[in-house]
Amino acid sequence: MATTIENELESVVIRFAGDSGDGMQLTGTQFSNTTALFGNDIATFPDFPAEIRAPIGTLAGVSGYQIHFGSKKINTPGDLSDVLVVMNVAALKANLKGLRKGGVIIANSDGFDSKNMRLANVPEDKNPLLDGSLSQYDVKTIDVTKITRAALADSGMGTKEIDRCKNMFVLGLVYWMYHRDMQSSIDFITSKFSKNPAVMNANIKVMQAGWSYGETTEMFANRYNVAPAQMETGIYRSIMGNEAAAYGLIAASVKCGLPLFYGTYPITPASDILHELSKYKNFDIKTYQAEDEIAAICSSIGAAFGGSLAITGSSGPGIALKGEAIGLATMLEMPLVIVNVQRAGPSTGMPTKTEQADLMQAMYGRNGECPVVILAAQSPSDCFTLAYEACRIALQHMIPVFLLTDGYIANGAEPWKFPQSKDLPEIKVEFAPQRAADDSKFMPYQRDEKLTRPWAIPGTKGLEHRIGGIEKQNITGNISYDGDNHELMTHLRQEKVDKVADYIPLQTIDNGAETGDLLILGWGGTYGALKTATTILRGEGLNVSHAHVRYLSPFPKNLGDILKNFKTVVVPELNNGQLVKIIRDKYFVDAIPYNKIQGQPFMSDEVVRKIKEILA
């Protein structure tokens, strides 16, 4: 047995990269789950191409999965990786710039043969494993393919099937390097391949071969310990954003006592919400895959009319198609939650890449004056909290509510101290009661103190009434073309949104003092990067604070006051400047935009540099 040196680390970033058929997402997810179970704090970032099977071996086909784990608080998947696992030369080429100098490269040499070099457009004589260009890194070259084939020589499986187990070798090896228990992955493989014992055994065997390789060869002189993180006490699980959003919706359905209807049409990166919800029919969760985006939201409006908790979900292009129906729901004053898992646009844009450029679309993207409530989740687990909030507000205010998430938090994972159902806020819903023949006529647009109209569902005696997209007379709900009434109704629809501010939490400063030189004002999935950047800046003695807005329409009532307490307000966004425009318009604050539009999240380091530049 080789002698190894044990090292203690506070945090590590590993990036698994390979061809999109190499199973890197699965490898990354398994390592994340095991690491979360071990008690580290984690943040993950899957980064994959839109094509299911892009041309093999090419740069376009590279799929990556980055995980940052540590014994300290982890806010982001990390700017640069410490370890880069590459299954072929294309994966190295695409990811090398993200590896810190001196970092470890674990390379599958079989993926650096002449065919792979050609596919990755690397000249024959420039094999990076041989030409010395990687001298600044600690390169471990292993013929993973060969070892995998040898390990499974007597499995009776074909070469193609055997080669599909390669990723398990890497997983086993990395488990060994970081002292991770393989049991959770063994359980996963056992359950996933329960119907195919040959494949099950092969995957487990190859993973164990990876572990043994680390143990027996002398290639790896170092092993690393990353102690469990000091987190708030409690019971944790690992959660991804889309999964969390689905659970938030289910929880709201259970707590309000109404069946949930999710009308949707498959679209990246929102489809996983549908996949998740469709598993829970026994919770009275009704998922409906409509013929298109328009039918998806319209079916939800029909379900809302009938008294269900109605949700529709999509990404930007689908939301564009839903615009007219969102207007209808606004006119009907019907509870409806619209989930937008944002991706890079416009048009088809970059479906698997993240962006937060649909804020204006949510805020203004309809004909006429059409205000809605808008919430934006800031992390994977926050998707749960705000999906629940979106339902609560929609139901209690009879109003359409947007929930914005993005591809980055939708697919990212983090540890989650999940709540007990009894601790979730109550969502009380009352339908309008039936009326007798001698009662006065039912008024569908009679309002309460929240300006909310009654939810009068079909089947209730005495409540027969008609609603629609044509302007309504206030109180009676009859068609009205009266100018004064239209102006009144336009104001009422806006006031209804504004009133929600009385029922949401005030804005807080996430990190830093209540006053100071500079406020970083963020929203959505940039939370982790901005939090880390703020911590670094404050560590260097700079008078910087960070506030993250989760309620974007209406804003928390104290947001304007908070902004006035800082000399400078900077609004970093993964778009061309959207929240910054709204802030400037609403609060007359000379906020400075800071924008990145590359389909990639912010790195903390670049935020730190930018803020210093502004303060200089």
Binding site: G234, R237, F261, A290, A295, I301, I457
Partner: protein
């Protein structure tokens, strides 16, 4: 049902809103027939929901004292599907026109029929865009001169009956505004059908397309130009009931009953999809020589296709039975958890 002390009348289904279609519009007749049929269905008013899109016909829900939604263009079908899926206890009706259902809502229309929820579609076909003041519609005949087609429309028309059969509709029928009794009977049969019922109603727009169906509705030509289908009866038409349709293999031919015995005629069978498909294609321009008469009545009924709302809710019931009612705390905890002390 015991609560219905006195039987409802057609007046009970009329709302307090003034009807605002043009005087002489065929829509009045359809409103009247629906209000006449509904009391006979033995259901309380609050169980009826009328959902419409946009167009003249789509004003219909405002005039019915039931639950109603006047939605957006072409989408009534999609809204009704969501409502029926979650509230199978309701009687859901879709009111649509030829522009609403065949053009802007064409996609939802075919998918509604494919899924087969237990709803009723009344398709008011006047072969014109009335509300936007007279442009050609997807059912207008080719060459139609309108405001938007001064040299005549170059588009070929849709045949809504053939389209519906192609989309696997389970109840397909045609009636006309000028024949109240026939209309009532067909609407009633559509309601009785479990599954989506598609009733195309030839409706005259006396302002922008007056007389489009005159040849089928006027006494002088009706018997010669229409074929009134009845299940189990031979296909006979003509001024003196002297003509019939015979099948020569798959080819329909018009025969004179002076030459051919009634016993040799095609006997209408509503359950035969192949025959329904053939007869749906009797869609000739009536000015052409040797044209086939236009069929009215029920083309096709399929009672063997389960409804969408049943299938949809059976899965929910099955999941609850197999897994038990969902436990939220178990769901939130997931498969693997760890404790931080």
């Amino acid at each position: 049902m015991t609560e219905i002390a006195a039987k409802l009348t057609s007046k009970d289904f009329a709302s307090d809103q003034e009807v605002r279609w043009c005087p002489g519009c065929g829509d009045y007749s359809i409103l009247k027939q629906v209000q006449t049929v509904l009391p006979d269905l033995g259901r309380p008013r609050e169980e009826f929901v009328f959902i419409s899109g946009i167009g003249c016909s789509s004003r219909f829900p405002y005039y019915m004292d039931t639950f109603g939604m006047h939605s957006i263009h072409g989408r009534a079908t999609a809204i009704a599907t969501g409502l029926k899926a979650t509230r199978p206890d309701l009687s859901v009706w879709i009111i649509t026109g030829d522009g609403d259902s065949m053009s802007i809502g064409g996609n939802h229309f075919i998918h509604l029929l494919r899924r087969n929820p237990d709803v009723n579609v009344l398709l008011f076909n006047n072969q014109i865009y009335g509300l936007t003041k007279g442009q050609y519609s997807p059912t207008s005949e080719q060459g139609k001169v309108t405001k938007s087609s001064p040299m005549g429309s170059v588009d070929y028309p849709f045949n809504p009956i053939a389209l519906s059969l192609g989309a696997d509709a389970t109840f397909v029928a045609r009636t006309m505004d000028r024949d109240p009794k026939h209309q009532q009977a067909i609407i009633k049969r559509g309601y009785d059908h479990k599954g989506t019922s598609l009733v195309e109603i030839y409706q005259n727009c006396n302002v922008f397309n007056d007389g489009a169906y005159e040849i089928y509705t006027e006494k002088s030509s009706k018997k010669e130009e229409t074929l009134m289908m009845e299940h189990g009866k031979p296909l006979i038409f003509g001024e003196n009931n002297d003509k019939g349709i015979k099948l020569d293999g798959f080819k329909p031919v018009i025969v004179s009953l002076n030459d051919v015995s009634v016993n040799d005629l095609w006997v209408h069978d509503e359950t035969d999809l192949v025959k329904a498909t053939i007869i749906s294609r009797f869609y000739d321009d009536p000015s052409k020589e040797n044209h086939f008469p236009r069929p009215f009545g029920v083309f096709y009924v399929n009672n063997n296709k389960k409804t969408f709302d049943d299938l949809f809710n059976e899965q929910i019931a099955e999941a609850k039975e197999k897994k038990g009612t969902g436990d939220l705390d178990k769901l939130l905890a997931g498969r693997e958890t760890w404790v931080v002390n």
